[in-house]
Amino acid sequence: MLYKQKLIMKKKNLISKWLNFNLSDEELEAFNELDASSSYHRIDRAAKHFKAPDFDSYASYENLKSKLGSQKKTRPLYTYISAIAAVLVVAFGLFYILNTAVEHQFLAENSTTTEFKLPDNSEVILNAGSDITYTDKDWSRNRNLKLNGEAFFKVAKGEKFTVVTQEGSVSVLGTQFRVNDRDGYFEVTCYEGLVHVSHKGKELDLPAGNTFRVFGNTTMNEETALAKPSWLENKSMFKSMPYNLVIAELERQFDVKIAGDLTDSSTLFTGSFSNLNLNTALQAITIPLNLSYTINGKNVVFKINQQ
């Protein structure tokens, strides 16, 4: 009796080992000698017919982001200001102040970001290659700034806060948003509250979780699930962005100049790169377009890959 039980145990172990991909050659031979082994093998082979449908985790994540975007987020990801709501992101704009009030200018050079506070404790973070000008006279009653480039604002509640750029202006009463205005590209993203955008005579209200973009003849109004700009975490992200603007952003982030076989500037690029490593960033934008690059100090040359 004991012997028979032992045999059954041995058989069970062998089968379990086979199931766990853990058989030595000898053990495999022994397994194949079992009466039921051909049955087991067939069951194993046929199992693949019941495979779950393919799962595209990237596409699915995009889907999730839009679901999350519409969720009401009660937790501030930004720990800066507690009682205050709006953050303005200002796009490019040159703002010349005509009166004799003190004019302040802040700028972020290439490959840096700059943070500062306005007289009402509103906070501003400038992305690389951007600058802001404003006067502090009567600031609490007249909150206007001029922006060239890209910035993220957190605006203290108060009188109307306006950011003027070359392409358009943005005003808020208390929201968080980002404005990006570069070379004929204008983009406003509202993260919290409501933002009023004025662009080439066109006016619209942009609620939280939305982005408004214009470049060339294209106007887009879409949702975003991000709660703050990606560059605050050292990453540049792009969605259907004209390639020449992607290159320009990389140049600013790393303070380099790119030349060579540049793809037709109407190519739209979706992707991202880290602002912390030049090589990985260059790879991120060249590989998808079948380009290669060489670095020479502060100059980078792109070449189309020969096939």
Binding site: I15, S39, I43, H49, F50, A52, F55, Y61
Partner: protein, 171 residues
């Protein structure tokens, strides 16, 4: 890029890495366990939304077990006496000259029996068996996903195999 010090479920980058890492397994887990009628992808989203909502109170190393527990509960809530259907994919006609029409018909019958037998297994047996045979997962890995011991996984898969053999071969 985030260093371990800043690994935080509320951080969007880390959160998206979690999605990249676990979404497929979560999807397959629900699919193999409960079939396709419960929209596994939706369940994956719901689980991650719950994680996001509770991100402050879930430690990064606990995120995986949180997700698997939550997704199972979400699906259980959804189940109301529905019959589990795992559709087997019809094998496309191949151009082998040595496969007779008889073999193909027999293969199709075989798969019908197989499908019926799979539906008869307990959920626990079925999900362990399919994760092992179809996805090639080791017993230890499955134990982590199902939150049971390795021995328990071994037992479930072995039992499933024997049950399938009996049903299909008609012994």
């Amino acid at each position: 890029m985030p260093t371990p010090l800043f690994k935080n479920v509320c951080d969007e980058q880390f959160f998206s890495k979690l999605y990249e890492q676990y979404s497929k397994d979560l999807h397959d887990f629900i699919y193999y366990k409960y079939g396709e009628s419960f929209n596994p992808e939706d369940k994956v989203h719901e689980a991650f939304i719950k994680l996001w909502q509770n991100c402050k109170s879930v430690a990064p190393e606990k995120a995986k077990s949180f997700l698997f527990t939550v997704i199972n509960n979400i699906t259980l809530n959804d189940i109301k006496h529905q019959k589990v259907v795992l559709k087997h994919q019809q094998s496309k006609p191949k151009h082998y000259t040595n496969e007779s029409p008889q073999f193909l018909m027999e293969e199709s019958e075989y798969l019908e029996k197989y499908q019926a037998a799979l539906a008869k297994l307990s959920e626990g047996q079925r999900v362990a068996f399919l994760l092992n045979r179809v996805e090639g997962k080791r017993h230890k890995e499955i134990a982590e996903m199902l939150n049971i011991s390795r021995k328990a996984v071994e037992k479930r898969i072995y039992t499933a195999l024997e049950k399938l053999r009996e049903e299909i071969d008609g012994i």
